[in-house]
Symmetry: C2
Subunit: 184 residues, 2 copies
DNA sequence: CCCAATAAACCGACCATATGGTAGGTTTGT
DNA sequence: ACAAACCTACCATATGGTCGGTTTATTGGG
């Protein structure tokens, strides 16, 4: 409700809340129900309040995309830190990150990212470009078809969990995939 | 334009056109732009005309879902026809079908299905249920984790092609996956 | 074989609501 | 006092949907 102007002002927190709420609505109910009003309500702010932080709905979604994509990439890079620069380092971190996303029911950056990217053609391009850059950075260690296939498998598993079509134990799938990297 | 009431009436063709146009808009521009008006325009019918065939927008999307899901399942079953009832028959047909979907730029039932299912929580449930049934029918030959992983890989590849994040040659990916089935 | 009568396909205008966005004011922080 | 955060009220448009009419196809009786 509209009482945020009487309480303490913490714009950074509100901005975060707006992004989080938009993300939650997107996974829980679908992209179509991510309206300015709905997000504002969920974040306990008025529409005007939201539009103060984000110039438009597009800006909101773009910001959400960037926010999630950054978090996602950072997580992968973080998992790579300290490991030997060898074949499959990137793929290993990638698989771990993707599987971790399905294991964590709340806050699923990957899932929301997909809902955004699949639902909107514009975001697809952004995502493709970003991913291509990320992959290019590790082309020397991870550009084989076999490794790509492992990443595909992780993505496919992740997709199946998002939809709920073929439930499998995350740990088992992860171990199975990581073992294949070791072999390759 | 609204001139369909002067020309020959072929309701079946119009119905198909409506479904096809809805599908096309969904992949090309995103689910958000699949409006009753847009679909009607694309199919060269008025809104009233569309609402005559489908009681509501939901009904349109539901029908599209059923239509695509049926076509998809039928294609898999068709690919299985005549093959020995042995380990991996279903997975083999599944992989072939999914890869064929990315190879065919026009008319991509799988892609549209995903756009629908990922974008809307309700459809996700429908898809999950349907897939579970299909899988259950072949549990005796295709319920191992290894085979599931191959299906995941096909899905992941397919997803990457939808977004355009990691382009690979379909035939190569397919052969690589099918070979793994033979081994397993 | 013709021709009403009936049903189905389709249109056009209209409606209520939801939506994204704007403008200007009020409250809080510095 | 000044600016940033936030709200209220408002606007134009888009959207899903309804309703009654018009056009085409089908069908049964003479």
């Amino acid at each position: 409700m509209g009482s945020a102007h009487k309480r303490e002002k913490k714009p950074e927190a509100v901005r975060r809340a707006l992004l989080d709420c938009a993300a939650r609505i997107a996974i829980e109910h679908g992209l179509a129900r991510v309206t300015v009003q709905a997000v504002a309500d969920a974040a306990d702010v008025t529409k005007g309040g939201l539009l103060h932080h984000f110039a438009s709905k597009q800006a909101l979604l773009d910001a959400l995309f960037v926010d999630l994509a950054d978090a996602y990439e950072n997580e992968i890079e973080a998992r790579m830190a300290g490991r030997r620069h060898a074949t499959g380092v990137f793929t290993r971190a990638y698989v771990e990150t993707v599987i971790a996303d399905v294991a964590e029911p709340s806050s699923r950056p990957r899932a929301i990212l997909a809902v955004l990217a699949i639902g909107d053609a514009r975001m697809r391009a952004l995502w493709a470009e970003r991913f291509a850059r990320m992959l290019g950075r590790h082309a020397d260690t991870d550009d084989t078809l076999d490794l790509a296939t492992l990443r595909f498998a992780a993505d496919g598993y992740w997709l199946s969990e998002l939809i709920g079509s073929d439930p499998r134990d995350p740990a088992r799938v992860r171990d199975s995939l990581l073992q294949s990297i070791a072999v390759a």
